[in-house]
């Protein structure tokens, strides 16, 4: 299995993602510059966190027009796996690969802290090694993480079990006071209808070593690796 980490001007969690794949997943991984368009040798691509194009216009809005994104769309349509983290989630929403949008945090602040998220389902290639209801401690670092969608989209996401992570308290209770940014229904991560594209605001790649305060994020990458091993 081979992983790719897409690098835009302004990406800053690309090395974290690369490190996790090479060290903790133990699989080959390449950086993919945003002008490259050949994804044929990859099984999964990660769109990392950061501030692609300085978040000009809207977070993720300009990265969507990078040459690599047309390839990412085809890659996703072919059933291969795309994981968008933080700015990657914003880009996937702007590109129409995931529904909804991420707007300015409810309280305007840039939030940089560890939060708890509840794994709503393990029926995804990214959470199949987890237990539904499991609570992960992951860092968030964003100003535009307030997930918004219309009622019809929310009903679809709920009906199809596509809300994958919810902000919660340490006991796993999904409450308004545990919602750091105002996201609708405490949504921290969703997948597409084919379940092969996942976007989330928290950073699992920055929570893979106890030294960094949490290693809960490893399970996300372990799940994806298990999926790819089963497919191979």
């Amino acid at each position: 299995m081979k992983f790719g980490v897409i690098v835009f001007p302004g990406s800053n969690c690309d090395h974290d993602a690369y490190h996790v794949i090479s060290k903790h997943v133990g699989q080959p991984v390449d950086f993919i510059w945003h002008r490259d368009t050949d994804l044929s040798t990859y099984d999964a691509v990660i769109i990392p966190g950061g501030f692609s194009y300085g978040d000009y216009l809207r977070a993720g809005a300009l990265a969507r027009f990078s040459p690599v994104m047309a390839s990412v769309k085809k890659f996703a349509q072919s059933g291969r796996f795309v994981l968008g983290i933080c700015n990657g989630f914003q880009i996937l929403c702007e590109a129409g690969l995931l529904p909804g949008a991420l707007i300015r945090n409810r309280d305007l602040h840039f939030i940089c802290e560890h939060v708890f998220v509840r794994v709503a389902t393990n029926d995804t290639p990214f959470t199949n090694e987890l237990t539904p209801g499991a609570v992960l401690r992951l860092p968030i670092a964003h100003a535009d993480g307030n997930y918004i969608c219309d009622d019809v989209t929310l009903a679809e996401l709920q009906r199809d079990d596509r809300i994958i992570f919810n902000y919660c308290d340490k006991d796993g209770k999904v409450t308004e006071s545990a919602n750091p940014n105002g996201s609708r229904a405490n949504i921290a991560g969703i997948c597409n209808s084919s379940r092969n594209v996942l976007g989330l605001m928290p950073h699992p790649e920055r929570a893979c070593e106890d030294l960094l305060g949490s290693s809960d994020g490893r399970d996300v990458f372990r799940s994806l690796a298990a999926t790819l091993a089963a497919v191979a």
Binding site: R58, A61, G100, A101, I103, R104, N105, R106, C149, D150
Partner: protein, 81 residues
């Protein structure tokens, strides 16, 4: 020719920046303001190679596909001769 594009959050979409500005201007003593919504304004200098109608259509498409995110924002295009 000049095109002006106004992009605003749709009604109902939370605008914490507008709220913060509203709060600040009230602190400064400005009264009678019920609400402030912050938007974006783009000014495009056009090179006159397009007719006004074509320019309007082209800029509207740009506003729809790039300058705004139709999930959260509305846009308005004005063309000035």
């Amino acid at each position: 020719m000049k095109a002006k594009v106004y992009v605003n959050l749709k009604p109902g979409v939370l605008d914490p920046q507008g709220k913060a500005i509203h709060h600040s201007v009230e602190l400064l003593g400005f009264s009678g303001i019920a609400d402030i919504r912050q938007g974006k304004y783009f000014e495009l200098a056009l090179d006159n190679s397009l007719s006004e109608a074509d320019a309007r259509e082209s800029v509207a498409r740009m506003a729809r596909e790039v300058l705004s995110n139709p999930i959260i924002e509305d846009y308005r295009v004005e063309i000035e001769a």
